[in-house]
């Protein structure tokens, strides 16, 4: 095994976390390579120091505190879930909403025409047109007369053709 590969494995080797085959190869290498051995020792030392500090930092619960914490966990779990209010007192607004919906549904079933006007909405303009047609039955509507004007560029002569809606010539000016 070469030095660069061994160096990559040293952090794990220092804590004894390599697989058996790899560990043996690394051990063989560091036995014969002083540079890698130095690196290995540095990892071992930093790991050892860290472990000591972490061990020294350890604390334990005081008996009283521990019992209180456990008791709290047990009590909070075994506390009964909030009991639902009896039928007449359960969330009144929900029942009111349900009643309104039920009445509406019943009304729709009995008298559907009462709802029809809400769904057949038409604009005020259309409604007015429907009631009062803008053309007079006796007269021809303006749209029924087509007026074509032709002007000569040279002489300035102007010819106006008036055609009815079937493009029949009626008159000219």
């Amino acid at each position: 095994m070469k030095c660069n590969k061994v160096r990559r494995l040293l952090p794990l080797s220092a804590g004894g976390d390599l697989k058996t085959g790899q560990a043996m190869k690394v051990e063989d290498h560091i036995r014969n390579c002083p540079e890698c051995r130095r690196e290995y020792e540095a990892y071992r030392s930093s790991l050892e120091k860290t472990r000591i500090v972490l061990r020294e930092e350890c604390r334990d619960w005081s008996e009283e505190e521990w019992r209180r914490v456990v008791g709290k966990a047990v009590v909070s779990r075994s506390a009964p879930s909030p009991v639902m209010a009896p039928w007449p007192f359960r969330q009144v607004w929900a029942y009111v909403l349900m009643a309104v919906l039920a009445v509406s549904a019943a009304w729709l079933a009995v008298k559907p025409s009462a709802f029809a006007r809400y769904f057949q909405m038409e604009s005020a303009v259309v409604a007015q047109l429907r009631q009062e047609p803008f053309w007079d039955e006796g007269k021809k509507a303006a749209q029924d007369v087509i007026r074509m004007t032709m002007v000569s560029r040279e002489s300035g002569l102007k010819i106006v053709w008036l055609l009815d809606k079937n493009f029949k010539w009626e008159n000219d000016e």
Binding site: R8, L12, A42, S46, L47, E56, E57, E65, V69, V74
Partner: protein
């Protein structure tokens, strides 16, 4: 009393059985929570939440698994959730605890050096990502094997090795600065 007997009794809502079941692990739980967040108050809150979850989900624990591993998994996940929620950096380490074995006399120079070393190591821990930190602490502080650490954190063994290697490299680099 055996663990499975205590477990059955705890499932029936027996508080004393639940307490006895957790007693051997209480110190480990508190310390791993502290090392994750570096604040004793927060560590106690994490343990409180973890205990609540443990009692709540005790019925879902499969008895063919190791209870200790399951317990640490819940504690670790609770600690990781707390770290996620906390946007600010870890609070300053409790300065009251002194790096000195109980009853051991230390001269001022030694106290200064060990305090400095402790602060450096705590700084190293803060520089690790939550995942690296959890792997490092479970393996190097709590002494779980690679396989157990993988089971607790729900990663593969190779992923645990990768994170452990990175964490140890970072810690060494920080200590040599």
């Amino acid at each position: 009393m055996k663990e499975d007997v205590l477990l059955d009794r705890a499932l029936d809502g027996d508080e004393s059985a639940f307490e006895l079941l957790l007693r051997p692990h209480r110190r480990g739980m508190l310390n791993i929570a502290y090392q994750m967040c570096l604040d004793w108050e927060e560590a106690r809150e994490i343990c409180q939440d973890a205990l609540f979850k443990i009692f709540k989900y005790l019925h879902s624990f499969k008895q063919d698994r190791v209870f200790k591993t399951w317990l640490y998994r819940i504690t670790m996940n609770t600690a990781l959730d707390t770290l996620k929620k906390r946007s600010t950096q870890a609070k300053i380490v409790d300065q009251k605890s002194v790096f000195c074995a109980p009853g051991e006399e230390m001269n001022p120079e030694n106290i200064f050096l060990s305090k400095e070393l402790k602060e450096r190591i705590m700084r190293c821990l803060r520089s690790l990502t939550p995942r690296e930190k959890s792997v490092f602490l479970l393996r190097d502080s709590e002494g779980f094997s690679i396989r157990e650490t993988a089971e607790i954190l729900g990663f593969s063994s190779s992923s645990i090795r990768t994170h452990l290697s990175r964490a140890r490299k970072k810690i060494r680099a920080q200590l040599e600065k």
